[in-house]
Amino acid sequence: MKNQESEVVALGIRRRVFEHTIRNNGGYLSQACSAADTLAVLYEDVLNLGPSIAPAIPAPFGGVPSPDNPNSFTGAGYHGEFAPHYDRFIISPAHYALVFYAALIEVGRMAPEGLKMFNKDGSSVEMIGAEHSPGMEVTNGSLAQGLSMASGIAFARKRRGDEGRVFVYMSDGEFEEGQTWECFANMAHHKINNVTCVVDFNAQQCDGAMSAVTEIGDLVAKLKAFGADAVMVDGHDHEALREAMNRRSEDGPVVVIAKTSPYEGMDYLQKRFPRLHYVRFTSEDEKIELRDAIAEQLGVNVAEIE
């Protein structure tokens, strides 16, 4: 039963991001392909979060945090209240925001109307998720900082004896940043074992295939050498993901490297490989061809999109 629900959520995420991309003439479409399954399993089956305490329709931007601004807020409320037994979920690749918003809608933490505010002036539903955007708990657009902040949260929670874990969603490109490795060394040194990283290993980055930009090699072996309990699984196999995400280690963090495809569920995108970071259209014909092909695969009625 559970299994079926996460599959439904994953399909819903792909459909929602696809429809949004068509309506807006572009979007982070391939991230929905690679990440929909990991997010569906996380939100549906793995994370222990309280019910959302944030408005179903996101509030407008409340101004930047400062001692003089009582109106600023973060998007953490969509992950429920802060309580010792609940998990926290830190989203590091902020450019996945559209996919995360879609996920929040599919699991009932945000209203579908929220997505209409995506990238609109004055909205908190920003294109690159900011800490005030739904589901975002910290400032993460500069990659690799999410893991370090999460490790600080986890260190504090472990020190207090909180039962809840800290989950971090990462993109594989973040393993090119030195800070990521500083953090793994520090987590091993302090035996920070209440962190679970889920990595979307889609082997893509802005310039194209990671192998053409910076080869990061055997990530599992590297992480194990840094004291993490690392495992690589099929990032579209929900049962395998569930099992891996529930791993625990006494000595340090758990890392689940979800090996994913940047066109999973949208085969047509293979034609655009390796330029998949942001899908936009150069002509109306191209858009229609992509729309019709993917709509058919996802079971979406084209007439209902526009």
Partner: protein, 333 residues
């Protein structure tokens, strides 16, 4: 004048040991930042972060989110140069209560370019939500911790270590300019180690009949604009700033911005590193070479007043500096 030995050691132990939510973070410079004794006595409140400042800054942001108040200890340069992005995104934007204790500010180290924080105030002043404090004597080093800890947001502190002169008998007060002499001719505004140098010069200048109004600034952001303007209005001549920092973006720039915005029609001379890097050498040598000392201040006074004072280097070397007493009283009078 009393020279205090390692005033930070006991101050930090007294401060942090009473506050369990304070954590002492260090990046492999624990004894250099005078917190090794604290580490040994309170190992549970000490978190070694290793030589990994980028992670340390973001890690501290996470700790602060959970209600801890991390005090980061390393050399000033390592708190803002390499991890500036982390400082901005993981700490400053979210206005987190992270306290950056920056040791060896400016040219107080013979470590050269890699170790000398000469543009820290300029860079950090441009970051919203930051508060910047600078200690100028042993008493300020001893009393800055609760002041920094009371700030609702991130704080950067320039901390003096080792042998530190004691100039003041009253504690560090947030955003208060200390008036150290009340002359009517020229205004001198100093910060950090330059205040001691200026005291050397103002005493001799007074003997020569030049009345210096001398302010010591230990809160650089925010800055007490109203008090500054009032003091500027009390002198007939111009203003001189003297700082252990580049003249670009630090105390001199702060004063010049206020004077320009308020239309103060007085001359200003900014003393400090004149848009140059320094190099590795002793503090005394560097202060003389780059014009951060009493002699440079006297030369600037002569330029502003258009009069030679006849003060020699020997006069300045012999000048005795007494402790400067309560700010409530007219200090040094």
């Amino acid at each position: 004048m009393e020279i205090a030995i390692k005033p930070y050691v006991k101050s930090f132990i007294d401060f942090a040991s009473q506050r369990p939510e304070v954590l002492c973070l260090s990046a492999d410079l624990t004894s250099s930042c005078e917190v090794d004794k604290f580490r040994d006595q309170y190992p549970d409140q000490f978190v070694s972060c290793g030589m990994a400042e980028q992670n340390m800054l973001s890690f501290a942001g996470g700790l602060a989110m959970e209600g801890y108040r991390p005090f980061l200890h390393t050399f000033a340069v390592f708190l803002y140069r390499r991890p500036l992005d982390q400082l901005i995104n993981s700490v400053a934007y979210s206005n987190r209560k992270v306290r950056l204790m920056g040791f060896l500010p400016g040219i107080t180290t013979p470590g050269g370019i890699t170790h000398q924080a000469i543009e820290d105030v300029a860079i950090l002043r441009a970051i919203p939500n930051m508060t910047i404090l600078e200690t100028g004597d042993a008493t300020e080093v001893e009393t800055v911790l609760p002041v920094a800890d009371a700030v609702d947001g991130p704080v950067y502190v320039r901390v003096l270590r080792g042998q530190v002169p004691r100039l003041f008998s009253t504690p560090f007060e947030f955003n208060k300019l200390r008036c150290l002499s009340e002359g009517k001719d020229l205004l001198v505004v100093t910060s950090g180690i330059c205040t001691e140098e200026a005291l050397r010069a103002t005493a001799v200048l007074k003997e020569k009949g030049v009345g210096i109004r001398h302010l010591h600034a230990s809160t650089l952001k925010p800055f007490n604009k109203e008090a500054l303007l009032e003091h500027i209005s009390e002198v007939d001549g111009g203003v001189i700033t003297l700082e252990n920092h580049s003249i670009v973006g630090g105390l001199g720039s702060i004063v010049s911005e206020i004077m320009a915005e308020e239309g103060v029609g007085k001359k200003l001379i900014r003393l400090g590193l004149k848009d140059t890097f320094a190099h590795g050498a002793s503090k005394g040598y560097l202060m003389e070479k780059y014009g951060l000392d009493a002699k440079a201040l006297v030369a600037a006074v002569e330029t502003l007043s258009g009069q030679k004072t006849g003060i020699t280097a020997d006069d300045l070397a012999e000048a005795r500096i007494d402790d400067v007493h309560s700010a409530a009283k007219a200090e040094a009078l």
